[in-house]
Symmetry: D2
Subunit: 480 residues, 4 copies
């Protein structure tokens, strides 16, 4: 049995290739849309990808299952659990085989036994993997977003992100029962989860890629919280705001993502096309670093730096139903296109070289800047009543400690609260260390706020300097 783990740093997402060397059969579990690595690995191991499956309908990235079927002709195994609202609409189109609790299927000599483990989502499956050539007990469990290392999959996404009200408590109770069943398996069973640290599908995932049931039973709060009520309270508390695009992902992954046959090569944008796009009110994303953007950018562009958080913020802020435009150099254009494609933002109107900023200025256009404030300046402005300060972190972070008297609106919800923001006087934004507040400042500039700054170093710098703060345990921020 061959096992390969693929980890996408930007999605904090793991997929797995499992192959049977004796027969050449292989399967990919929870593929994302960048399927080249699976194809290359299979070829390198002399395997054929004849099977593909996924643990559940993903909410945080576009599934690559359909792309893989189209490219390889693999047989897909899809969940038939969870009821009609959670059935795959495209299952017939690709000739998928539906599976649920107590079913099993073979990948060469390797047996996949299916458990239904609802909680994170109603249709969620877990696969127990047994290498029948040498053993009669499973070596590992592919747990998807059911059990992570150090955490469990949050049951509140449907209600919060997809707007299916009243489901989060029921999900939490389902999850508790799924865990009760799962803990009966042997302690030595390996756990191969679907996400790692940084994923928004939980609140405290570890950076360790894999674990064992016995270890998790000792140290994972999801197993050590022993009553259902305490578990339900704990699992619904302190979860980060789910990105708004999660609802769109669910829909796409249930209905069937478009087959790309490789990420596309978009148009090369010219200065005149940039002008047209901005005049038409289109979203133009400048992917340079916040520091470069601050020094001078084309007015009306949004700054989302091309780092590990790029696709998260793109998903939060960009529309799915119109063309978006990118400012990114050729060396990184493919990465940016791929990142957007991973979350289903397939409509890239054109790509502009960052030198277009200079071309804009050379042609007589003004460049805009973003000013920063130090914690000291911020405190002085706050005391003097000369500025409004706004925290743009998550509500849970705000509760853990914030500047006294400062309200919170998470960056991803800002556009829903524009009318609550002051239109006269300076508005100073801050986040934890300066990354989100830079994005937020560019977002508000684009929305017409012309006196927005952000605080250098964020809450970390404020707290490090011992400036006044408070910890709130009862109140709720505006964005909650």
């Amino acid at each position: 049995m061959i096992l390969k783990r693929f980890y996408d740093e930007k999605l904090a997402q793991a997929s797995y290739l499992i192959g049977c060397a004796a027969t050449g059969d292989a399967i990919v579990v929870d593929p994302n849309r960048d399927i080249e690595p699976y194809l290359r690995a299979a070829e390198s191991e002399g395997l054929e990808l004849r099977h593909v499956t996924e643990t559940h309908i993903h909410a945080d990235f576009v599934s690559g299952l359909r792309e893989l079927v189209a490219r390889t002709g693999a047989t897909a195994y899809l969940s038939n659990e969870g009821g009609p609202d959670w059935s795959y609409a495209f299952a017939d189109d690709i000739g998928a085989r539906l599976v649920g609790e107590a079913d099993s299927f073979m990948v060469g000599n390797i047996r996949f036994d299916v458990m239904h483990t609802p909680g994170h989502t109603p249709e969620h499956l877990t696969f127990l993997v047994t290498d029948t050539a040498g053993a009669d007990r499973p070596i590992g469990a592919l747990t998807g977003d059911f059990v992570f290392v150090g955490d469990v999959g949050r049951p509140d996404l449907l209600e919060k992100a997809a707007g299916v009200s009243g489901t989060m408590e029921a999900g939490a109770r389902d999850l508790f029962r799924s865990l009760e069943r799962f803990r009966e398996l042997p302690d030595w069973l390996q756990i191969w989860p679907g996400h790692g640290a940084g994923s928004a599908c939980g609140k405290g995932l570890s950076s360790i890629p894999h674990s064992t049931l016995g270890y998790e039973k000792l140290f994972n709060w999801g197993f050590t919280t022993d009553t259902e009520e305490a578990f339900v309270a704990a699992v619904l508390d302190g979860q980060p705001e789910p990105p708004k695009y999660f609802a769109e992902m669910k829909r796409i992954n249930r209905e069937g993502p478009a087959v790309l046959h490789g990420f596309p090569e978009p148009d090369v944008g010219t200065l005149s096309r940039l002008r047209e796009a901005l005049d038409a009110g289109a979203w133009v994303v400048d992917t340079r670093s916040a520091a470069e953007f601050a020094v001078g950018h084309v007015p009306g562009t949004l700054n989302i730096p091309l780092n590990r958080s790029f696709n998260t913020w793109a998903g939060w802020l960009l529309p799915y139903d119109e063309d978006v435009f990118l400012m990114v150099d050729q060396a990184h254009a493919d990465d940016a296109i791929r990142d957007l494609g991973m979350i289903g933002l397939d409509r890239v109107g054109a790509v502009f070289a960052p030198t277009v900023v200079h071309a804009w200025a050379d042609a007589g256009g003004q460049l805009a800047t973003v000013r920063t404030r130090s914690p000291g300046e911020t405190e002085a402005a706050l005391l003097a009543g000369e500025a409004t300060v706004l925290d743009v972190r998550g509500t849970a972070e705000w509760r853990d400690g914030h500047i006294e008297g400062v309200d919170v609106i998470p960056t991803g919800y800002l556009l829903d609260h524009l009318d609550e923001l002051p239109t006269d006087g300076e508005l100073i934004l801050h986040c934890q260390s300066g990354g989100r507040s830079a994005i937020a400042a560019s977002l508000l500039q684009r929305a017409g706020f012309d006196n927005v700054t952000h605080m250098h170093g964020g809450w970390a710098a404020w707290a490090a300097r011992g400036l006044p703060s408070v910890r709130e345990t009862t109140g709720v921020g505006a964005g909650a």
Copy 2:
């Protein structure tokens, strides 16, 4: 003025980016379909590709002009010379500007003066490039397939490849007159041609990338042959057989190539799909080296090694109106797809990993081999009447010297002459050094000849050993 030359080794083809640093305008001349290098170079120089042109309707590769227009919105300049048979069918679709003799257009401060230089083709243009910022005389001429370094563009392609009978002598005379006009330009004018050594658009191109008119007037046979009659005779003599796909290229480039937005990612083939393809009589190309193929290959596959000649032989042998299949490892699959796309073979059904050969054998399939003969063995078999020997080089090469009594059918014409080949007894093929005869042997095996071998080392080895040969100046080979 910025000048960048792009040279595609496999097509032996040159394209040029010329830019005006002062205005940011740039043009690409004679782009091929792999347009990424132009986009990258323009971005790197801070230029925008606002213009694109080509010297003529190419016969040896698919033009990238339309792809470039689609990706960048550039203005295209196309020839309106040569009469209705040679007018671009898609000119209106892309809003092209038609140009001909004595026209001129500007790329920033750089002036392009158009000369009509028919001969290679009726609509052929040459562009004289003047950097008006610093000079009032042209610095160079973009000569396309009119004048090469050491050679001139052959006027016989239309008749031979595209089957437009009676045009080759008229073309030769046009070419003579075009040269007469061109030689009046200053000796110091640089010549930037469209092809280098190895191109089938001429018979003796140099490896030197650029030259000057004065130097060519001294050493290029096209200029030193002083009467029209002698020139016509010389230019029509000794030209290599034009690849059969040239006719298809002409048609595609005149009607308008498909816009790809990047070369596609084809399906990943499985063993069962390979069987289906072979059963259906599809063309499956094994791109491994001839040595690897000889040791063991799947019966019915054609061997075209993925080296510099790959697209030439693919163009000669593969059909344009059905799916073709490739056997190539993932690391080189993109190259192979690109190579085929460069000559318009866009229909790749699937790509098989070379390990499929082992999978075929593991599943009980027989592997076929290709045997070779040494020159000594070949001579013995020939003397003993135990084998037929066939030369698969070009006719011109055969005339220059061949094995006595051995006829010639160029590799690219073999399929048209199958009924002339002996069906009993061994058939020994040979070429110049063994590359083409390996392809030819696999081609005949695929066509059902089961006693085909080829001679190791080819004519070079035969001649080096002093074996009997003859030089023919009057006869004509079967394939001529």
Copy 3:
């Protein structure tokens, strides 16, 4: 806690980076000499490599510990177990901290508890890793060559490879006791071993990268063999021949490998230098595929194809005390140099382009070929007494089944048995599927045997065709 596994396919070797995100501390365990991947991973995670250790003195590759200390200033932890013969000679030079049974050290908040687990080697350590930030029990054990997935580390290398006679049974008994102690740890403990499938440090390693103690106790023969005597017999039976270079590795790794500061860029060889090298009797390795080599090679060169087995065969066959020469194209030269450097073959005299083979022929040199025989031809020759057949697989493979009447000398031992080989008549070599016999044939050609061939398809093809064979359980091949 951050955990990254690095797997070198050619060495079938795993190393690990473990980091503490809170403090930025990181350690590499069992680094090989290609340390760039560790440096890049650490930087990418924002970690500093302040610590480095290894489980034991490796025999199958050159340790990268010293290179890493030189490049990063990391603190090294080295075993002080096993007695004076197994102490690191360079420990003081690099200021290493010596550790043994019951010691522990911290990497940020992560505790490494040291177990002495002799058997594979006397000084062997196992590290239990506890993430003290969230747990008080170890999550995993870095077992090096003590426990693998599905196998245990062989205790016979010292005696067989390093010639320390009388140690292998003692090692087997030590290993049994080490396993007895280890099995007392919790079932859920993860096992992170030092090797995977294909390593010569065991006989049946799995392709699964990690396991758990509970699972291994159920399915690993090393744990399920319950008496010491049965275990000793089993662990010493059926082990593959240890490569001869293992002895050299042990010496180098104990005394301290040279610090390279990156693998070197060797000289570019010319035709005249190739002649000099061959005239001087130097080892010149042609890294092309066996098929390419067979068609034509420079006489006197040795064929070791640049595939996954390259460094294994280089280690078996090449000398450590003189310059060796490589024939490899520029695109792969760095890989080949790296592969040799990984096993301490640092003396590369020059690298020749494979085109030197044609240059050799063009300059009038003869090219040699390697002929193959089919199983049918081999059987006929054997029956007619016209050829000697020799099996060049491992002795254990030979015992499992071989051609009746055919003796075995493993490829790696051939040079020690030249005087036992027949000098008149054809000598037909065969291995399992044709890879080793191709290397062996070129080795014997180089040694002056001019009538050597090898059997196409090897034992697998012979057996598949139902040709006569025998299984030997008592006899011993010549090379044993």
Copy 4:
């Protein structure tokens, strides 16, 4: 004849590979120290690098001639012109053949005729290249730093950079006479020069890579200036300041550069090593963009962004006789090491990841910032007498137009004029567009000036806004 041009964008330097396909001989002319591209190109063309030469002792980069001889065993051809002060000290060590006026040597069938063309340097050679297989006249001239496209090689470097006083006028007269001789050659002769636009070896080089003698005679001011006196005045006027490292380059290239066998892999720096380096007063170069550096950097580090000007500024500012340290991410570390090595800065003490800046702050260290001023703020401060403004461009640029009352000290000379700078009040630096002033500001911060800012957008922004300025034709800036 095969001709390949290699152009290093950062050095604006051209080298050439010329090969004879018939014999396999090849030569490299004016190699720089990054010799891998030559090796790869030769292998790809099936050529052996048996010859190497250079037109003169370079002042702007380290010659790769010696490295190439060491790696390939090529024969070197070195100038014996110019007298004893200009003879190569290492010629005997490498068995070089000395050549001068009227000598010639063959590279296969290609003849190199040597002309002595002093002016730029006393020993300067020009090579006329004749492809004797097809011509009896030279096709091109390798002119090195004698004739460029649109310019001629400056004769003042020796006096200005190397401090050999009294040589620049004599050099100018030599150059005039060399041009007089050279213009007698045929108009159609191609000119293949040693530098392109941006090189400090001239003042107005074109971006066109090659030209012809006839064209240059019409449009190159060096040929069209018709009296010796006018030429001498013109060629010595308006030349940019020669980088100070040019003197060091001359010395290294005359005495013989160290043979590297590939650029080295330096140590990986830790936070503690960074502290040590700064405490010891070592030069630590932060290679991030000026914007990133401005937002927060480790006090005492120098900002030289890793762009096309990196090695120029490294050469101007860094010492050759002590270790320097780099802050650069792993993905670009090799580039930075190479860039420094290209100009002989081989002593890189260690490389720090840019994340060390955060580690510094996390460990309690203060971060420094660089503030900018707008042109409007600068004008106000100047008028109010609240700040000193200093122009850090070249003297020639300053003369062409500058802010009234503002003096000039070129960035590269700042360290020689520290005592002339004001130590109280704000010092506002500016250059042409902001690149050099950012470097200069970090340089002065490092030197202890704690109230240094620089003007955003530079002279270009000032002039574009119509702010007061003046053009000086007689005065001389402080740095001249």
